[in-house]
């Protein structure tokens, strides 16, 4: 105790004796954030975490009115949007924060990729990060169906159909995801369970691991900065860095509030399994680059169906991304690694270009 006790009230002391606040305080005070010209990228993880917390809070609120069945889901969301006070706000924030979170995850991923923050001993941090991104996309995919509107229905039909393309176990996976051969109320119940129970549980575990590892290893200094001795010093995480984090969080919240107020989430038409897919149907923007790639692939490549090649290609691409810390030997040795910087930039350009085409290329051609 001693000097640490200064400025703490009796409640703090009482709690400290029982749960050891002093240890936590020491840990928080120990953490230092390196200051250099790339320090700004350190804020993206925290912003993603903030948006995730917004999702947890608004998601729990939505559960109070949502009814997960094909008969009632659409109506319950309609009720929530039209009758429940601030229902439109809660749902719009949930929908927008999901999109912003995927966006900050991408930014976080690419900054880590380009600044080589996956280098030893942070391989597991990278692996858990990629897994968290996959889970976030899973959240997006399963959550999209829940309002049971036309767009959601067809997006899910297409999305689950894609898993059916995987050779061998594809049809089984498709059945497993759909809870049957078709997208029905059984699919809705299944996605609901995945969205509100399975994914949150897995996400919490992985997030715990991810944050623990960040705390354990501290912030990674980009090798290029290290080589050029570009560190200008450090700043304490608590409170200096955290307060700057907070400014970022408040900005994100302001953006969220503005988006939710001016562009509230829409509901559209109730899903009708016996209607044709609406013209110009598109997936969520973060699946767009894959969607567009599949459009460009010819029907057959070397005698194999183009779709299968595409899906397997994305599988291989994902595996490659996951294994980057183990493939990039030069970075592991602390040497410059132009190849992997190039790969990172190429990946960004590819995703941006295909997403752009997805929104501008004619849908009917």
């Amino acid at each position: 105790m001693g000097t640490l006790d200064k400025g703490h009230g009796r409640l703090w002391l009482w709690l400290d004796e029982r749960i050891g606040l002093a240890g936590l305080e020491k840990l928080a005070k120990k953490k230092e954030v390196p200051v250099h010209r790339h320090t700004v990228w350190y804020y993206l993880g925290g912003m993603t975490l903030f948006l995730f917390l917004v999702q947890v809070a608004t998601g729990i609120l939505l559960l109070f009115y949502y009814r997960p069945s094909a008969e009632e889901a659409y109506e319950s969301v309609q009720f929530l949007m039209a009758e429940v006070e601030f229902g439109w706000l809660i749902r719009s924030i949930h929908s927008w924060a999901a999109n912003l979170m995927i966006f900050t995850i991408f930014l976080h991923l690419f900054s880590v990729l380009l600044l080589k923050a996956y280098r030893p001993p942070r391989e597991v941090t990278w692996l858990s990060g990629i897994a968290l991104m996959a889970i976030a996309m899973g959240f997006g995919f399963t959550g999209y169906l829940l309002p049971w509107n036309e767009l959601a229905y067809f997006a899910t039909k297409v999305g689950t159909e894609i898993t059916g393309v995987v050779p061998g176990i594809g049809p089984f996976l498709r059945r497993l995801l759909r809870g049957g051969d078709e997208v029905t109320g059984a699919t809705l119940t299944r996605f609901y369970g995945i969205h509100v129970a399975v994914l949150p549980a897995v996400a919490a575990l992985l997030l715990g691991l991810h944050l623990f590892l960040v705390q354990k290893h501290g912030m990674s200094v980009p090798p290029a900065v290290e080589r050029r001795a570009g560190i200008r010093g450090t700043m304490p995480f608590f409170p200096n860095f955290l307060l700057r984090d907070l400014v970022g969080w408040l900005s994100a919240l302001a953006a969220l509030a503005a988006l939710a107020a001016y562009l509230p989430a829409e509901l559209g038409q109730k899903a009708d399994p016996f209607a044709s897919a609406p013209v110009g149907i598109k997936p969520e923007w973060y699946f767009m680059f894959m969607f567009q790639t599949l459009k460009y692939l010819p029907a057959r490549i070397l005698g194999i169906e183009g779709e299968i090649v595409g899906v397997l290609g994305f599988g291989v691409g994902g595996l490659f991304l996951l294994l980057i810390p183990f493939l990039d030997r030069r970075t592991a040795r602390g040497e410059p690694s132009r190849l992997f910087t190039g790969i990172g930039i190429a990946l960004i350009l590819y995703m941006v270009a295909l997403t752009y085409l997805g929104y501008t290329a004619s849908a009917t051609r």
Binding site: L61, F64, E83, V84, E85, F86, G87, L89, I90
Partner: protein
């Protein structure tokens, strides 16, 4: 001089603390207010109908039986007394809101949850129920049974 500097520093700190505290309070309020209002369920259009036409024919209700029907969004109970008279009550037990049933063996209305007994005028005669069941007016018009709230 030194005194003045320290003094102005303290005022600045005081102002910042006040400003941040007020901002944090306002922020908290602007989150808690919508969430609080959101949690309060909107008034659902409770069926205000005072009259319900039952999907039951009068001759299908045998003497010394009773059956549950929907009165708006709450259950009602339709009873034909051993003497052949049709009566209807709210089926919500006045004790703890369980749904009551007709007991042909006792020839009266009974609540299974806490053994509450009501006679054929809806009066609470035994067990914990504190009040009689709300009585409805029953009209058998030809082929139909029409139940309405008392006068």
């Amino acid at each position: 001089m030194a005194e003045a500097v320290r003094h102005s520093g303290e005022t600045r700190r005081g102002f910042l603390n006040w400003f941040l505290g007020t901002s944090a309070g306002a922020f908290l309020l602007s989150v808690l207010y919508p969430v609080g209002r959101y949690l309060i369920p909107p008034a659902v259009g409770e069926s205000a109908a005072g009259t319900v036409t039952l999907p039951i024919k009068p001759e299908d209700v045998k003497p010394n039986t009773g059956q549950i029907f929907k009165f708006g969004n709450r259950p009602g109970i339709l009873v034909r007394t051993p003497a052949g008279e049709l009566r209807a009550f709210s089926a919500v037990c006045t004790h703890l809101n369980c749904t009551v049933q007709y007991r042909p063996d006792l020839s009266h209305i009974w609540c299974a949850c806490h053994n509450g007994h009501f006679d054929l005028t809806g009066r609470n005669i035994a067990g914990p129920p504190p009040r009689p069941l709300d009585a409805f007016v029953v009209n058998a018009r030809g082929n139909q049974i029409v139940v309405s709230k008392g006068a």
